[in-house]
C-alpha cells in the first residue's frame, strides 16, 4: 500500500492555461488529446460532464457502454504501462474517474441518487450500516415510515419478531412463514410500482431542464427524493424479511 503526499494532477491543472494538450498543444477532448492520443490530467467535473452528457436522467445506456469502452481504450493504465510516471498517474486518475462515472450512470437508481446529490439533496440514511450503527450506538436513525405503510409495517414487524422468537426456541410456524411471505410479495409489488413511478419523474426532470423551468425542476427532484426514500424503506423491509425467512 502506498501513501501519496502530493497531488500532481491538481498542481498541473492550476498551472495550465486554456485547454491545450500538455504534450502536443492540440486539445479538443477533455480526457485525451484527439490529435496525439495522450492522456490529459483529470479535471474536477461531474460524472455526467465526464461523458459529455447533460444532467438528464433518461439516457441511452447502450451508447454509454460504447463510450465507456472507447474511453477505456484511451485511458486505461494498461495503455500507459511503459509511459513516464506522470502519464501513468494521470491515466490511473482518469480511468478510475471513468469507471466510477460509468458504474454510477449505467444504473438508473444510482444515476438518480447521484443527480439528487449534485442538486444538494440527501436521502434518508437507509443503509444496513446505518441501522447497525444506530443499533450499536443507540442513536436514532433518520428514517420516516411512509404514512400509507404504517399499518402494514406495524403488523409485519410483529410477525417478524414472532418468527425470530420461534427460531430462537427452535420452533417452526409454517402458517406464520406463509403469512410473512404474502406480505413480502405485496411489498415487492409496491417496490416495482415505485420504480415505475420514479421513471415518470425522470422525464419530468429532463423536460424541465430543457425548458429551463426551475420551479418544475424543483418539483420533480423533491418528488424523486420522496419516492427513493420510500423505495429504500421497502427494500430494507424486504431484506429483513428475507433474513428471517432464509435462516
Amino acid at each position: 500500500m502506498t501513501a501519496e503526499t502530493t497531488n500532481p494532477v491538481l498542481s498541473v491543472l492550476a498551472d495550465r492555461d486554456g485547454d491545450a494538450c500538455w504534450s502536443c498543444g492540440d486539445m479538443r477532448a477533455a480526457h485525451f488529446c484527439k490529435s496525439c492520443g495522450k492522456v490529459q490530467p483529470a479535471r474536477p467535473v461531474d460524472f455526467f460532464a465526464f461523458f459529455g452528457l447533460p444532467k438528464k436522467l433518461n439516457l441511452d445506456v447502450a451508447k454509454l457502454e460504447r463510450d465507456f469502452y472507447l474511453l477505456s481504450r484511451k485511458l486505461h493504465p494498461d495503455v500507459y504501462a511503459q509511459a513516464n510516471e506522470q502519464e501513468r498517474e494521470w491515466s490511473l486518475e482518469q480511468s478510475s474517474r471513468l469507471n466510477d462515472a460509468y458504474r454510477t450512470l449505467k444504473d438508473p437508481i444510482k444515476r438518480t441518487q447521484y443527480l439528487l446529490h449534485l442538486e444538494g439533496l440527501e436521502l434518508e440514511e437507509q443503509s444496513k450500516n446505518a441501522t447497525e450503527r444506530a443499533r450499536a450506538t443507540g442513536e436514532l436513525k433518520k428514517q420516516v415510515v411512509p404514512p400509507e405503510l404504517l399499518e402494514e409495517v406495524f403488523e409485519l414487524n410483529m410477525q417478524l419478531e414472532e418468527a425470530r422468537m420461534n427460531k430462537k426456541m427452535g420452533e417452526n410456524d409454517a402458517a406464520l412463514a406463509e403469512e410473512i411471505e404474502k406480505q413480502k410479495q405485496s411489498l415487492e409489488q409496491k417496490y416495482e410500482a415505485l420504480s415505475l413511478e420514479l421513471g415518470r419523474y425522470w422525464s419530468n426532470w429532463d423536460t424541465a431542464l430543457d425548458a429551463g423551468s426551475e420551479a418544475n425542476q424543483i418539483q420533480a427532484r423533491d418528488r424523486m427524493v420522496d419516492l427513493l426514500n420510500r423505495r429504500n424503506y421497502i427494500r430494507n423491509l424486504v431484506r429483513d424479511v428475507n433474513e428471517v425467512l432464509e435462516s
Binding site: M1, S95, N129, E132, A136
Partner: protein, 634 residues
C-alpha cells in the same frame, strides 16, 4: 522499431509455477533446464544451505521434511494469528521467535524466511529459466494471482516479485488471464464463465467479451479451497486407517506423512482416468499400508469439498445479474478440474459442456504472457485487446459502533475510487485515525483488516471545523492507495500507513539486498560461468582430437592457428569478460571445423569397415572438438 524489452508472464501457483512469453502471435511456456514446463512450487534448503527450487527440491520433502516447504501461497499476506488453521493441515514450521502482528516466518533448517521470500525463490528460478531461454536479462514481469486474493495477499505477491529482482508491471487475476489465452484465438463476443480450481485456491469469474474488451462483470471465490484440501482429506483418512489397522500413529513422523502425501496425490491423479487404484505404502518399522480406493468412493469423499465451489458460483451469477442459461461458454482452469466429478458439477451448474481445449495447468501462464504483451505495447495478435477487471471484495472503513461502512463495492471495475470526508471531534485535534477493511460483512471485526492510517498534521481548529478529504483508490492491480487533503487549509495531510499484515517498504528493500545483488550483475555472472564451462568442454574435446589420426592430416599452419587460439581461450576463460570468452570460443570452433570433419570421416570409415567403435577407439571415440557437430552413432 527499437527492440522492446521482454516482459514475461508468470503463474505463481500453489502447486506448480510457470513462466511464459509471447512467441510471435501465440503465447508459449518456457521450459526449465530439465525441459519440463511445470516448476513445482517447492523450496528446500540443502545441507550446504543452498536454496533448491522445483523438481530438484521435491526429494527433500521426503528426505528432510524440516528443510523443505510446499504450498507457501497459502500463507501469503497472512499474520501469525490467522494461520493457525493452516498449521493443522500443513507441515509448515513457524519460526520460534515470532512476535504478535509480525509477518509469519517459516523455518527451513536453521534459517527462517517470510512467505514472500520463499515465493521470491520460486520467481527467481522462473526468471533464470527465462534468461537462459532468451540469453538476455529479464527484469519485467506480469504475475497472476487468484481473483479472490485480498489486498494483503496481492501486496505480498508484489513484494515477492521485487525481492526476486522483478519489476511487477501488473498483477492479473488468474481466471481473467485464462480468458485472455482462450480469447486470443476465438475472437468472439459473448458471456464467458471461468471456473478455476487449482491446488490451493478457487475462483469463479464471469466476463463479457466485446470486440477485444474483456470486461469482468463479477468474480467470487475461496482463497483456501483446492486440490490441497483433497490431498489433506486423503492423508487424514490414511493416517486414521494406519492407526486403526496397524496400531501405529505416524502422524507426527514427517517422513512418513510426506510419503503418504506423495502416494495419495498419485492415487488422486490416477483416479481421474481409472476406476480404482491400490495404495501400497511402506512405512517405518517394516509396516505396510495397503488399501484400494474406487472412483466411486473417492467421489463420495470429495463431494463436500467440491460442493464448496457452488456457493461462490451462484453468488457470482447473482452479482452479474445472469441466469446460468445466459452464459455462452464455460472454461475450466486449474489442475483440479481434471477430476471428472468436478467437471460433472460444473456442467450441472451452468447447464453446458465446459471447455477444456487448453491445458488447464498452463492456460493461466499463457494468459499472463498475453497480458505482458499488451503491456509492452501489443502486437497484431493482441491488438484491440483490453482487460477490465474488478475488485473481488468490498472496501470499507470502520465507523462508530465498529460497523463497516462500504465505500467501494465488490465487483467494481478497477481502477476505482471513493472519497470520504472526515472532521475532528475535539478542539485543536490534529490527528484522525482511520481503519480500512476489506470484506462483505457488516461488523468491522468480521472483515479483513487492511491497514490503520493516521491522518497527521491537521491544522488546529475548533472541533468539527476541519474538512479532510481522504481518497481511496484501488489500482489496476487491485491494490489500495490512499491520499488525504485538508480542504479548508488546502494542506496535504500526512498519512502514516501501518499494514495489518505485510512487510514495510524498508523490510522488502532489506530482503532484496540480503538475498542477492542486482539482477544485471547476477545475470552477467552466470553468463560468464556458463561460457567458461563451454570453453572447458571444447578444450577437452580438442585434447582428444589431437590424439586422433585426423590431427595428423592438418597442415602445420592449421595446427599453429589452433594452438594460438587454444592458448588464448585458456587465458580469457579465467577472466570475467563474457564477450572475450564468447569470441575466443567461436574462433577456436571455426579453426577446428576441418579437424572435426576429418574425425567424423574417419569415424564413419571405421564404422563402415565393420569395426566396433568402442573396441577400436575405446577412449577417444568419435567426439569431435566441435560442439555443433557431435558425432553420434547408434
Amino acid at each position: 522499431m527499437a527492440e522492446r524489452e521482454i516482459i514475461i508472464g508468470i503463474d505463481l501457483g500453489t502447486t506448480n509455477s510457470l513462466v511464459a512469453f509471447m512467441a510471435g502471435d501465440s503465447p508459449a511456456v518456457i521450459p526449465g533446464e530439465d525441459g519440463i514446463n511445470l516448476v513445482p512450487s517447492v523450496v528446500a534448503l540443502d545441507e550446504k544451505n543452498q536454496i533448491i527450487v522445483g523438481n530438484a527440491a521435491r526429494k527433500y520433502l521426503i528426505e528432510t521434511p524440516d528443510r523443505a516447504v510446499y504450498s507457501i501461497k497459502r500463507l501469503m499476506g497472512r499474520g501469525v494469528d490467522d494461520v493457525q488453521e493452516e498449521l493443522k493441515l500443513f507441515p509448515f514450521q513457524l519460526a520460534d521467535d515470532l512476535q504478535p502482528g509480525e509477518v509469519v516466518r517459516i523455518r527451513l533448517g536453521e534459517k527462517t524466511f517470510t512467505p514472500p521470500e520463499i515465493s521470491a525463490f520460486i520467481l527467481r528460478q522462473l526468471k533464470r529459466n527465462a534468461e537462459r531461454f532468451f540469453g538476455a536479462p529479464v527484469t519485467k514481469a506480469v504475475i497472476t494471482v487468484p481473483a479472490y486474493f485480498n489486498d494483503a495477499q496481492r501486496q505480498a505477491t508484489k513484494d515477492a516479485g521485487r525481492i526476486a529482482g522483478l519489476d511487477v508491471l501488473r498483477l492479473v487475476n488468474e481466471p481473467t488471464a485464462a480468458s485472455l489465452a482462450y480469447g486470443l484465438d476465438k475472437k468472439q463476443n459473448g458471456i464467458v464463465a471461468v471456473y478455476d480450481l487449482g491446488g490451493g485456491t478457487f475462483d469463479i469469474s464471469i466476463l463479457k467479451l466485446h470486440d477485444g474488451i474483456f470486461e469482468v462483470i463479477a468474480t467470487n471465490g475461496d482463497t483456501h479451497l483446492g486440490g490441497d484440501d483433497v490431498d489433506n482429506l486423503l492423508i487424514r483418512i490414511a493416517l486414521d486407517d494406519i492407526r486403526g489397522d496397524l496400531g501405529v500413529d505416524v502422524s507426527r513422523n514427517g517422513e512418513a506423512v510426506a510419503t503418504i502425501r506423495k502416494a495419495v496425490i498419485e492415487a488422486k491423479i490416477a483416479l481421474s482416468s481409472r476406476e480404482s487404484i491400490k495404495l501400497d505404502i511402506d512405512l517405518p518399522g517394516d509396516k505396510r499400508y495397503r488399501r484400494e480406493i474406487t472412483r466411486e468412493q473417492f467421489e463420495h469423499l470429495i463431494q463436500p469439498i467440491i460442493d464448496r465451489t457452488v456457493g461462490p458460483c451462484k453468488q457470482a451469477l447473482k452479482d452479474a445479474g445472469l441466469k446460468p442459461q445466459q452464459i455462452d461458454e464455460v472454461v475450466l482452469v486449474g489442475g483440479s478440474t481434471r477430476i471428472p466429478k468436478v467437471r460433472a458439477l460444473v456442467k450441472e451448474l451452468f447447464q453446458r459442456e465446459p471447455h477444456i481445449d487448453l491445458n488447464p495447468d498452463e492456460v493461466v501462464a499463457l494468459g499472463a504472457a498475453v497480458q505482458a504483451n499488451i503491456l509492452s505495447g501489443g502486437s497484431t495478435a493482441t491488438e484491440n485487446m483490453l482487460l477490465l477487471d474488478v475488485t473481488p471484495l468490498s472496501l470499507g472503513i470502520e465507523v462508530a459502533g465498529s460497523v463497516t461502512d462500504k465505500i467501494i463495492l465488490r465487483n467494481s471495475t478497477i481502477p476505482a475510487s471513493a472519497s470520504q470526508h472526515y472532521t475532528t471531534q475535539i478542539d485543536g485535534q490534529t490527528n484522525v485515525a482511520i481503519h480500512v477493511l476489506q470484506g462483505e460483512r457488516e461488523l468491522a471485526k468480521d472483515c479483513r483488516s487492511l491497514a490503520r492510517f493516521d491522518l497527521k498534521g491537521i491544522p488546529p481548529m475548533a472541533a468539527g471545523m476541519p474538512r479532510i478529504e481522504v481518497k481511496f483508490l484501488i489500482d489496476a492491480n487491485g491494490i489500495l492507495q490512499v491520499s488525504a487533503r485538508e480542504q479548508r487549509s488546502g494542506k496535504q495531510a500526512e498519512i502514516e500507513v501501518q499494514p495489518s499484515y505485510g512487510l514495510t517498504d524498508e523490510q522488502v528493500e532489506g530482503m532484496i539486498l540480503d538475498s542477492f545483488d542486482n539482477a544485471e550483475e547476477d545475470f552477467r555472472q552466470r553468463q560468464v560461468i556458463e561460457a567458461a564451462n563451454e570453453a572447458d568442454t571444447i578444450l577437452a574435446a580438442l585434447e582428444k582430437g589431437k590424439k586422433s589420426p585426423a590431427w595428423d592430416e592438418l597442415t602445420t599452419e592449421e595446427k599453429k592457428t589452433i594452438a594460438r587460439l587454444e592458448k588464448m581461450l585458456v587465458e580469457v576463460k579465467i577472466g570475467n569478460d563474457y564477450q572475450a570468452i564468447r569470441k575466443s570460443i567461436d574462433e577456436l570452433n571455426q579453426a577446428t571445423t576441418r579437424l572435426a570433419e576429418l574425425m567424423m570421416d574417419s569415424a564413419v570409415t571405421t564404422a563402415l569397415k565393420g569395426q566396433n567403435m568402442d573396441e577400436s577407439n575405446a577412449d577417444e571415440g568419435p567426439t569431435a572438438p566441435h560442439p555443433m557437430a557431435k558425432a553420434e552413432f547408434k
